[in-house]
């Protein structure tokens, strides 16, 4: 820094009025590396190819590859006018939102909710919730670290790093089985010092799509009790893994039953398709209400210097959706397994029969209305997984694609190497992150066959067309 000042002084002329700027204060600022996930979208957008595919960011798309606005969101927003907002109104709505969010994750009838034994604040979606917790952890446990699964969402590393909390990883993904490395995971949990902080994905692990079973979660919870570890859950996909909000909270409920006082970050970006509005929640379970109030005050203070108060628009929409029974019912249906979009019905034998039966019983008009009213996100994603796997097998791919259907949620860890990912982008205009993570939401009935052939090409043949694998994996 001193060298820089001296250099600057040499370069400065004495005239202060008409001096042209010779040097910038910002010369030592290097270009930041691109965010790996956003970089995929940027490359995709820059590509003029008409049949390009974006499998980068985890934002849900319908079967036409279009972003979705949920019916429940439209209804909610229709009820929200440009109302006069007093600061007190915002606070009241925020509290309501926090309460409803907590019910979602801990269960409506849980003691924690009834007794008000949690400190909850609204946050800027999942990222904001995680960052608030990381800052809180740093402030009150300045010597602690965070243990993260390997791999995890790349931004988790950025968040705890910028909050200046050292990071350790624990084994999670088994590249050979493309499943969970449970033995190594438990070993790492056991070997961590007592009272360590752990980051866990309660469902639809990002980026692998690999989740522990209920039994495995129970074992993890028991070991956590013995080690007195702090479990912090990042719940970004509740409803998206199985289509069932309650089912997807299973891991958290298991920990709750075991008496853990957990922390939880929630995001409504995916399951309400409210990405741009940045709505989320951070909650910490406490001994009692008094402690909850104290912790909440500290969280609010941390937030006050990052962004002040959370943005109201998304808050209003979510609050309305969760607290208005009619609108909530619509939401539950949209997330759940229900009727698929009408165009898909045409493509499947099973559903052709289904159509005929339906038309006989309900009438074509009703069928059209029902099928276009409800979009089911989780089901579409599940169907695309199955379709992609079948297509790859039909092409005669020698590799094992079972993991595509074993894995859960929006993402699929394909096992593709960085070179293969590169080839997919350059030769086939298919874009994904270098770790081989595919966002299944970007797969549609229209592009699934092309995608399968592209993947087959880069995995079965090298760039010169020579066969890579002679034996089935």
């Amino acid at each position: 820094m001193m060298i820089m000042w001296r250099y600057l002084r040499r370069g400065m002329s004495t005239s202060t009025r008409v001096r042209a700027l010779r040097r910038s204060w910002w010369d030592h600022v290097t270009p930041a590396p691109k965010d790996p996930i956003n970089a995929v979208t940027e490359a995709f957008l820059a590509d003029p190819c008409p049949y390009k595919i974006n499998l980068g960011v985890g934002a849900y798309r319908d079967d036409d590859g279009k972003p979705v606005v949920l019916q429940c969101v439209r209804e909610a927003e229709g009820k929200i006018a440009a109302t006069n907002f007093l600061e007190s109104t915002c606070a009241a709505i925020s509290s309501k939102l926090v309460e409803e969010s907590a019910k979602l994750v801990y269960g409506e009838d849980s003691d924690v909710i009834k007794e008000g034994r949690f400190a909850g604040v609204q946050a800027l979606s999942g990222t904001g919730a995680c960052r608030l917790f990381a800052e809180f952890q740093r402030r009150f446990y300045p010597d602690s670290r965070i243990y993260m699964p390997d791999p995890t969402w790349s931004n988790h590393h950025n968040i705890w790093r910028d909050a200046q909390v050292p990071i350790r990883t624990f084994h999670y993904y088994h590249p050979d089985s493309k499943g969970l490395n449970f033995v190594a995971l438990m070993d790492d949990v056991k070997n961590a010092p007592n009272g360590s902080f752990f980051l866990l994905h309660p469902c639809a692990h990002n980026p692998t799509g690999v989740d522990p079973s209920d039994e495995q979660w129970q074992e993890i919870s028991s070991l956590f009790k013995v080690k007195n570890h702090f479990p912090f859950f990042d719940m970004a996909y509740q409803g998206f893994a199985s289509g069932d909000l309650e089912r997807d909270a299973r891991a958290i409920r298991i920990f709750l039953d075991d008496g853990h006082l957990i922390g939880c970050a929630q995001s409504f970006a995916k399951n309400m398709a409210l990405y741009g509005h940045r709505v989320g929640c951070l909650s910490l379970l406490c001994d009692d209400k008094i402690q909850a109030v104290a912790i909440k005050s500290q969280l609010q203070q941390i937030a006050s210097t990052i962004y002040g108060s959370p943005p109201i628009h998304g808050m209003l929409a979510v609050s309305k959706i969760l607290s208005d029974p009619d609108i909530k019912a619509i939401w539950l249906k949209e997330v759940k397994v229900y009727f698929s979009s009408f165009s898909f019905l045409f493509h499947s034998l099973f559903t052709s029969i289904f159509i005929i039966t339906c038309i006989r019983t309900i009438g074509l008009m009703h069928l059209l209305i029902i099928s276009t009213c409800y979009k089911d996100m989780a089901t579409r994603v599940q169907r695309m997984r199955a379709t992609l796997k079948e297509a790859l097998e039909k092409l005669g791919s020698p590799l094992n694609w079972q993991p595509i259907t074993n894995q859960v949620g929006m993402f699929c860890f394909s096992g593709l190497t960085p070179d293969e990912v590169d080839r997919l982008a350059k030769e086939f205009h298919v874009y994904m992150t270098y770790d081989g993570r595919i966002s299944m939401a970007g797969v549609t009935t229209k592009n699934v066959d092309y995608l399968a052939s592209a993947i087959h090409e880069v995995t079965a043949f090298d760039q010169d067309g020579k066969i890579l694998h002679t034996v089935c994996a």
Partner: protein, 464 residues
Amino acid sequence: MASSLLSLASASPSASLSSHGISKGKLNLGNASLCFNKEKTNPFIKTKSFGRISMVITSNVSRFEGITMAPPDPILGVSEAFKADNHELKLNLGVGAYRTEELQPYVLNVVKKADKLLLERGENREYLPIEGLAAFNKVTAELLFGADNPVIKQQRVATVQGLSGTGSLRLAAALIERYFPGAKVLISSPTWGNHKNIFNDARVPWSEYRYYDPKTVGLDFEGMIADIKAASEGSFILLHGCAHNPTGIDPTPEQWGIIADVIQEKNHIPFFDIAYQGFASGSLDTDAASVRMFVARGMEVIAAQSYSKNLGLYAERIGAINVVCSSPDAASRVKSQLKRIARPMYSNPPVHGARIVANVVGDPALFKEWNVEMEMMAGRIKNVRQKLFDGLSSKDKSGKDWSFVLKQIGMFSFTGLNKAQCDNMTNKWHVYMTKDGRISLAGLSLAKCEYLADAIIDSYHNVG
């Protein structure tokens, strides 16, 4: 294993905390200006024993046992106290949110129109890019610097959408911490309370320059210049672009020129916080004059903007951070690093407020309408100032000069009342204000000016 669990149960919370090293005093907030050393305890945690035994068989002892209640926000605390008061003549002059003559919150017509447009278009809620809505970033920079400004044409401004003024300041603070480690930010004495908190939490050291002169209830210009000159080279000087908060005292154009001279001489970086563009004089261009003057001299400037007040978008959290650089290359690098700071804070900013601003500022008809509403709001404040001044001058026979009420600008006025006098305002007259003597004129109606004048005169003359 079970025995160690039970021993944890019977230990007091302070003992369990000490096993994590807290009460051993091993802490490092990493904050130069707070300067905690190993002997002092963490102010956020109290280590008193509760003497309570928790059952750990079914539930863990919370590891956050010792956490104390955070101090209440002094400004919001005023509104809470006001709400609790049942007196019919009560007056809330605390927080700086614009109110109509009927003392109701005000949603601008242009905002209602823009909101309706957005609802009709039914746009998706996809993630914005990390730097925010491109349309918003374009119009916000143009609004501040002027659409024809060479710095914009030459692409020398790095603009990133931020979460209102607070969020934008925080981004800049993080940039300073990362790229100018050890450099200080100089803030005015007094300044908006949250400035210090933001720099503290961002681990950027700060100190104050003289600003308010209680003797004149005006600007201590000599003190300000002296303190800026005395600061070590390459400091960041935080300036309020217009309508200084909390004093309402702005430098004159000539004084701004001298401030710019000194900053250039000392190789400091000017860092503007513009939260009231349009609200000070009623003219968006006039209120941007100070920033534009510095930029016109070829200086590299940081500028944080907020649309909370001038578009009434408090709750939407919409603002921007702008860094004017000497080259488009520097601007692009700086922008990339601002994005890198934003990503682990909140990934990308909220979309709604950005769309409203982009629509209002970007549409000529709506923009014109906004200018009119802006003048109306600033006009109401000017009228209220006049009426208050008239009331004070006519009712007060002591000959005290109350003209500072007219000279000060924007939403706030520093009355010069001390703490005891402020307490009298509240306790006797049910007038709620912050203890530094600041009143928010946005919360004053013409109808209540006389009452307020009485309260101020009484407090000033009859209380210590």
